[in-house]
């Protein structure tokens, strides 16, 4: 059997030419394009498809979603608490307002009576005993009206339970009790049975000054009681107000921010064969004055270049175009003087270090608009560029000596620093007590004349912690 095995092994190991290579490659290339477009996981260490920038974006989005959800929850809880506080406040206000109404009713009654008897207060000194008696009568009626709801005052309301009130209430009644009785008026005779007695005693009393002093004391004490009630009510309202309005932690209290952001960018003007710029970064900001912040950022970005010609601004660290392989060779037909560069492919990785200023525009809205400007230093990592050359038909009789033959060469370029790049941005930020979420549009402009590089528009989604 060894003969048979050896026969097959020898013959089948011989490498035979197979057709359809180009066609098969096209199919595979399309499959790889679809894969690179996000159809699946990407290998590690490739500049064009780093999984960790996607991870950073997902983390930022997840964080934004989480804090938005927390904010919504907090808001709902605040609303619930407000309703609860309002309900409790209403419950507490009901018994408190009753004495106020009683007092105000008393005051209104007094005023109404004063209107009918304008000589009640001041004219006492020079008034007739009859007028004074009317006033005393009115004052005697006041406690009766206040006591119309004695339960609410004594049981529910703490207002009248204070030591001050206990001292005041007897003082209100004592002068009245000690007053000499005055002769009743015509109205008094109809309304109250006490009036005749007072009128008889008043007739016996000749000292009207004593009566006037008593009335003054009653008035002043009544006013003091009303003021005391007001002050006590106001004192009770204070904690209610504090509970209803929660203290808001304002952004002005935070002076530093630190955070991360995901970036997507596009070269301007748009160039065919240049992919979008993707990456992520970190930032640190410090408030220098009111709404003015100084910021430091670091971005790690990458993009792919596959252009049909060598465009210097997309290959800032490539100094020269390489010669085609075998080019310039002498005899033997080895030289390819008609080779033409048809494709340049490279994966560019950049690190942007920026320092700048951010200013929050004085606009009050649920999101805060802001502008910023920064200077950037750009570090371009070492990269490998692949160049594809194609032999042109030299013309003349006979077929092309190198029909459809592509020739490749690759060169590795060292790292390079670029400066004088400026970034201007406009953004919207949503501030939570400890976090700020932002969406920014940044225009990056290269002002360097020494080394050409491209301009770009970046969109950044950021999450920052404030402290």
């Amino acid at each position: 059997m060894q003969d048979l095995d050896d026969l097959f092994k020898d013959r089948l190991e011989e490498e035979a030419p197979f057709p359809n290579r180009s066609k098969q490659w096209q199919q595979l290339s399309q499959r790889l394009d679809a894969f690179d477009a996000g159809a699946g996981p990407t290998p590690k260490g490739t500049a064009s498809s780093l999984p960790w920038w996607k991870l950073a974006t997902l983390v930022a989005l997840a964080s934004a979603g989480y804090f938005a959800w927390k904010g919504y929850q907090q808001k709902a809880e605040n609303n619930h608490l407000k309703v609860e506080i309002a309900r409790l406040q209403n419950q507490q206000n009901k018994p408190v307002q009753e004495p106020i109404q009683s007092v105000s009713t008393t005051q209104e009654t007094s005023k109404a009576q004063s209107a009918t008897t304008p000589q009640t207060d001041i004219p006492v000194f020079g008034s007739t005993p009859k007028a004074a008696a009317t006033h005393i009568e009115n004052e005697q009626n006041r406690p009766t009206k206040v006591k119309s709801n004695p339960k609410s005052r004594s049981d529910k309301s703490p207002v009248l339970q204070t030591e001050q009130q206990k001292a005041i209430v007897p003082a209100l009644s004592e002068p009245i009790a000690s007053l000499p009785e005055l002769p009743p008026s015509a109205a008094d005779k109809q309304s109250t049975p006490v009036a005749p007695t007072v009128a008889q005693n008043a007739a016996a009393a000749s000292d009207s000054i004593q009566v006037a002093l008593a009335l003054m004391m009653v008035d002043s004490l009544q006013k003091a009681l009303v003021a005391l009630q007001d002050s006590l009510l106001a004192r009770e309202d204070k904690p209610m107000a504090a509970a209803e309005i929660k203290p808001v932690v304002k952004a002005s209290g935070k002076h530093f921010r630190i955070g991360a952001h995901a970036t997507m960018g596009f070269v301007l003007p748009k160039q065919k064969g240049v992919s979008s710029i993707r990456g992520q970064g970190i930032s640190f900001e410090a408030r220098v004055w009111k709404s003015l912040w100084v910021s430091a950022t670091a971005d790690w970005l990458n993009h792919n270049v596959a252009t049909s010609e060598f465009i210097p601004k997309f290959h800032s660290h490539h100094d020269t175009i390489p010669k085609p392989p075998g080019g310039g060779g002498g005899g033997g037909g080895g030289g390819h003087f008609n080779s033409k560069l048809v494709l340049v492919e490279s994966a560019i990785r950049q690190q942007h270090l920026g320092i700048g200023l951010r200013y929050n525009l004085p606009v009050k809205f649920w999101v805060q608009p802001a502008v910023r400007v920064a200077h950037e230093w750009v570090h371009i990592s070492p990269s490998l560029a692949t160049y594809k050359f194609r032999d042109d038909d030299p013309g003349g009789p006979g077929p092309n000596p190198h029909p459809e033959e592509d020739r490749y060469t690759a060169e590795k370029f060292p790292a390079k620093w670029l400066s004088n790049k400026w970034r201007m941005g406009l953004g919207l930020e949503k501030e939570l007590p400890n976090w700020t979420f932002g969406l920014w549009a940044d225009y990056s402009k290269d002002l360097s004349a020494a080394t050409p590089s491209f301009d770009a528009l970046y969109v950044r989604a950021s999450a920052q912690y404030r402290f």
Partner: protein, 183 residues
């Protein structure tokens, strides 16, 4: 065509960075080799092409698993073989004990086999049932033991031996009937 001015390491380095041109160069360079391997297993060129593309897709998307310390060609061959086996695994059949007992290896080549062309060899291999062809390839061409074949194909060692015997028997019959090579 792999240019002499650029070595394989540079191409692989480009593949690691997902350079399409580097991938194309690698594909072009090893296409015939990969097709030769895949074709042996699949029996048809179209199926071989599918296996080759599947294998290169794995290579390009998992190039980070390849270490520069080891030679690339055997690694590629391993990927192609495994891809082919994955395709064929479902077609593998387990013979019965009676089939195993019926298997016997006998006969020698008459020496005229040198006149066999490569096309005739391929033709015979293509006519083998997939299960026999796979085991025959793994055992004869790849030099794997029956234990390794059984592990690779997820079959028993006995089945591996059976398939190999039947593959050889099949080939002998073809040589006898079609080419009259056996004594």
């Amino acid at each position: 065509m792999l240019d002499k001015h650029v070595n394989l390491d540079e191409i692989i380095s480009g593949c690691r960075q997902q350079h399409r041109l580097s991938q194309q160069r690698l594909y072009s360079h090893f296409y015939n080799y990969a097709m030769t391997v895949a074709r042996r297993y699949m029996g048809e060129q179209e199926l071989g092409e599918e296996v080759v593309n599947d294998a290169f897709f794995k290579i390009f998307t998992k190039i980070h698993l390849y270490s520069n310390d080891q030679p690339f060609k055997p690694w590629l061959r391993r990927v192609v073989v495994n891809t082919a086996i994955d395709r064929l695994r479902s077609q593998m059949s387990t013979p019965t004990n009676q089939e195993l007992l019926a298997m016997h290896d006998s006969g020698k080549l008459s020496g005229i086999e040198e006149n066999l062309t490569q096309e005739q060899i391929w033709s015979m291999l293509d006519k083998l049932p997939p299960a026999y062809r796979t085991v025959f390839n793994l055992a004869v061409i790849e030099g794997m033991s029956h234990e390794e074949i059984a592990q690779s194909l997820d079959i028993s060692v006995g089945a591996s031996k059976s398939n190999l015997s039947r593959a050889r028997q099949f080939i002998r019959n073809m040589l006898k009937t079609e080419f009259e090579f056996f004594d």
